[in-house]
């Protein structure tokens, strides 16, 4: 039953994704591998939409994946799945709040969970990089080394990187600004070749 499966998969994501909305991304790639419910391309689109619409990114992604997989009931099941572990864990912690932050074991566990979680997000970033900046398919069909790189996309990525990291007045701008500008660039320069 797809609804139960969605609830369960997002329950797992909610339970193990540490460090905010971006931390859910590796779990969604894993889900794509296991179920084939959506492609990597589609997932990258969903990340972009989730970043540029109101609401927490993790929740937006659960809703989007749920909806794409199984319509409105799917969206609701995925979202409820994602938030249920949070509610349970926080209610437990709230009872023992005074000690939680100082607990030796909690501290030790998070000391290593944090770098692991960062690594998982970075690895998911590599997957996004592969589908957005490289043409692995044309390269494998013997297109030569130059055909591996999608130069339009790479130039855009470098521009966005510089703007978001080194240009003072732009650094603080909301990501939606850069997403919108990239969409315009994509349409004007026909990034998909469509």
């Amino acid at each position: 039953m797809i609804y139960l499966r969605l609830f369960f998969e997002f329950f797992k994501t909610g339970l193990f994704a540490v460090g905010g909305g971006m931390a859910t991304i590796p779990f969604l790639y894993d889900l794509s591998d296991k179920t084939g419910w959506f492609t990597y391309d589609k997932l990258a689109d969903m990340i972009a939409v989730s970043e540029s619409t109101p609401g927490p990114i993790g929740v937006n992604m659960a809703t989007f994946v749920g909806f794409t997989t199984a319509g409105i009931p799917g969206a609701i099941c995925a979202t409820l799945g994602l938030i249920t572990p949070s509610v349970i864990i926080i209610l437990i912690i709230a009872r023992f709040l005074a000690n939680f932050n100082d607990n030796k074991y909690v501290k030790s566990a998070f000391y290593t969970i944090r770098p692991a979680s960062t690594a998982l997000i970075a690895a998911a970033g590599v997957l996004v990089l592969k589908i957005s900046l490289l043409n692995v398919d044309t390269f494998q069909q013997g297109g030569g080394i130059l055909s591996l790189f999608d130069f339009k996309a790479i130039i855009l990525a470098v521009i966005v990187y510089v703007l978001t990291n080194f240009v003072k007045p732009l650094k603080k701008l909301h990501p939606v600004v850069f997403i919108a500008l990239s969409a315009v660039a994509g349409i004007v320069f026909k990034f998909a070749g469509a």
Binding site: G21, E51, P54, G55, T79, A119, V176, A183, A192
Partner: protein, 179 residues
Amino acid sequence: MNIYLDLFLSFAKVGVLTFGGGYAMLPILQREVAENKKWATEEELMDYYAIGQCTPGVIAVNTATFIGRKVKGLAGSILSTLGVVFPSLVIIIAIAAFVNNFADSPIVQNAFAGIRACVCVLILNAVVKLWKKAIVDKPTLLIFAIVFILSVFTNLSPVVYVILAAVAGIILKSLEAKK
């Protein structure tokens, strides 16, 4: 107004205004929860937010659960949490229906090809931000390297890494304590 309805609506407002992830949420929470409704003090809010960041799950949801519980127990926590996710459900379903219907249009395809290049950079920026808090010494750098390499080259579920990392941390720290 009924307190439960008030919790739901206030957190729905926080959900709408949280634009771009949990990190954007703090100033909005401060205004709505601490200044307007006086449901929690600024300090409590910071504590909840800090714990929400380092516990599993979506930060916004974790924080909403905390405050809802403080105001009105279990029912309060559930309503606050539902409030914070409600706008996402409505907005995303509307957008998803649109995007999925027009996925084949050249304009949508070109737009998303551009957007994907941007998403790469946004993920990279998020990693750099997290890196500063997470990679603090040699052991954490080593954990990062191991998990990164394994997850790029294998198909293991992320769950495995999180559990193993937690165990490694507890062992490492207890060995350190013994020295």
